[in-house]
Amino acid sequence: MTNPSDVVLSVRDVTVEYAGTPPVRAVRGVSFDLARGEVLGIAGESGCGKSTLAYAVTRLLRPPGRLVGGSVTFTPPDGGDPIDVNALAGEELRLFRWHRIAMVFQGAMNALNPVLSVRRQLSDVFTAHEPGMGRRQREERCRQLLDLVGIAPNRLSSYPHELSGGMRQRVMIAMAMALRPDVVVMDEPTTALDVVVQRDILEEIDRLREMFGFAVVFITHDLSLLLEISDQLAIMYGGRIVETGRARDIHAAPHHPYTVGLLNSFPSLRGERQRLHGIPGNPPDLAHPPAHCAFTARCPYAFAQCHEIDPPLAPVRSGDGPGTLTACLQYDRTLRPAGPDEALVQGRFDLDRLGTSA
């Protein structure tokens, strides 16, 4: 595990509910630690709760969404007392956001205001958060920000529709950088972009991270992308984290059947061709979450107890290093003294056992 003194953001048992009849539990008891300067990748399919989690961590949840349990603690890396993010209100919360945690949203087209120039939107950050700053100084900072993300400063007068998708995303990133935050939460920042532009943006983020040393929570459905850029990885399914650990450990040896299935859903660009298939079935309905493991219905390795127990995250012993945590009964030695299924260990998602075919 990460050195406790390095942790900037500590999330414990966060549960989020969307009001309704019945209420939908989009995030169910999620915990993670984000260390200083680290990239934590959160992967999962639509509806698994990954965006809701991001909103909960940044206190951006709006009704009907509601945090019903858990805590989010921010520890300033520059020393200072830990901040209970949930307790912040009013002015304190406003100061906390953007200074400490900034967010880059999915779809820059919608996140930028179409009727305001880039200058207006960038300098708004300074007007709101650093009221003492003069007009000329603001202009100077805005120019620096654009320059930082590789956009010519004369683009300040442009409106969002005059910029390409990649440039808009860069403006969003520039905005997030404005007050030098310690943590940047990025929710699908490159999803709508072409691969070449996506690669440019990723390199930009990498470069900025080296310069400023902020930590990143990177949320996307694209597991192959996350494996490449993350230090730590958390795989979400049905509102829970089902596997978490170092990205390269999970890449080398995935444990949870869902992770295995997800990895099998991406053909390798250059690797050998092998017979691949996705995961048959559909994600669980979180308005009626099962009392047992949410993946049981799609899992080829499910056995009797999987229909009764919802396993917690537990360490799996494998090789050296800090090890991976996974929430799967296959690794429960009291239920399976002989250890997990052989095919699962080999990283195969054995479709035949589900009795379905493509």
Binding site: E228, P267, L269, H277
Partner: protein, 327 residues
């Protein structure tokens, strides 16, 4: 054995900006062939013209010039000819949420093409046809699914319905325009495997339009790479992805996420990034403002040069006449 031959197909759009008029060559002199039992992938970035090609093949957009031949016979115009053509060539669209009518049941969506193409004589055979189609795309139990409405189905199930609908007139050619890019990752391969299975079972010719190189390589026997309306490289899938010959293909392949390739091997990408600028004049190689290898011949018109049997690239570095050989 069916072939759809595309000869020198172009599509230009006129863009009016105030009094300015500019011509956008969305598709510029493209030729290729689709054959039964083969999947051809058309890859490129957004705006490269790949969807316009698919739409022209579906006869949803009229080409500006060029011609298409089905089994060697040039296509005719007119309502009946187009309808007969649509019986042979069907399309699956990107968005399964937009391509099905929310007011109609799954059964309705499948009955209509059966009726329009005269494949069902009475309601009993119609129902048999609907159930058979649903069975072929693995939507079971068929009686239940047929009564469902689109909003009751998941994205993957909707795309299966869209595929079943495309299969209804018993086409010989299937055009799949980004058929999985709106779906969840765990569902994507299921749908692509389904198209692949149907291709084998029905001996379909498939055009797979995508921006995803990995699935293009995985499902297609050959790949065509488009850049700004032109095909810049074509060849057997593995050759194109593993040994890209055009600098643009190289850029695409090295930019794609690939956790199996260590990062240092991507170092050459930065050099390739160059300028994002595009030139308005369309003479010579269109990629040259971004190309790290550009040299004095690049402003000249570039033909396709054969790199290996069946593998060609629109790049002077592969001109046998360039004495130094590929640089």
């Amino acid at each position: 054995m069916t072939t759809l031959t595309i000869e020198r197909l172009s599509r230009h759009f006129t863009i009016r900006d105030g009094r300015h008029r500019t011509v956008l060559r969305a598709v510029d002199d493209v030729s290729f062939e689709l054959r039964s039992g083969e999947t051809v992938a058309l890859v490129g970035e957004s705006g490269s013209g790949k969807s316009t090609i698919a739409r022209m093949l579906a006869r949803l957009t009229r080409p500006t010039s060029g011609r298409m031949l089905l089994d060697g016979v040039p296509l005719k115009n007119g309502y009946r000819a187009v309808r007969r053509y649509r019986g042979d060539v069907q399309m699956v669209f990107q968005d399964p949420f937009g391509s099905l009518n929310p007011a109609h049941s799954v059964g309705y969506h499948l009955r209509r093409p059966l009726r329009l193409h005269g494949l069902a004589k009475d309601s009993a055979s119609e129902q048999r046809g609907v159930h058979d189609l649903l069975d072929r795309v693995n939507l079971r139990p068929v009686e239940v699914v047929a009564r469902r409405y689109p909003h009751e189905l998941s994205g993957g199930q909707r795309q299966r319905v869209a595929i079943a609908r495309a299969l209804a007139p018993r086409p010989r050619i299937l055009l799949a325009d980004e058929p999985v890019s709106m779906l969840d990752v765990s569902i994507r391969l299921e749908i692509l495997n389904l198209i692949d299975r149907l291709k084998q079972e029905e001996d379909l010719a498939v055009l797979y339009v995508t921006h995803d190189l990995a699935t293009a390589r995985y499902f297609a026997s050959s790949i065509m790479v488009m850049y700004r309306g032109q095909i810049v490289e074509r060849g057997p899938s593995d050759d194109v992805i593993l040994g890209p010959s055009h600098p643009y293909t190289h850029l695409l392949a090295s930019a794609a996420p690939d956790p199996d390739t260590p990062r240092p091997e991507r170092a050459d990408l930065r050099a390739l990034r160059g300028g994002q600028q595009t030139q308005s004049d369309r003479s010579g190689c269109l990629f040259r403002p971004r190309c790290p290898h550009a040299f004095d011949r690049c402003p000249l018109p570039v033909p396709m040069f054969e790199v290996a049997p069946g593998h060609a690239a629109r790049c002077f570095r592969h001109d046998p006449a360039v004495a130094a050989g590929p640089r």
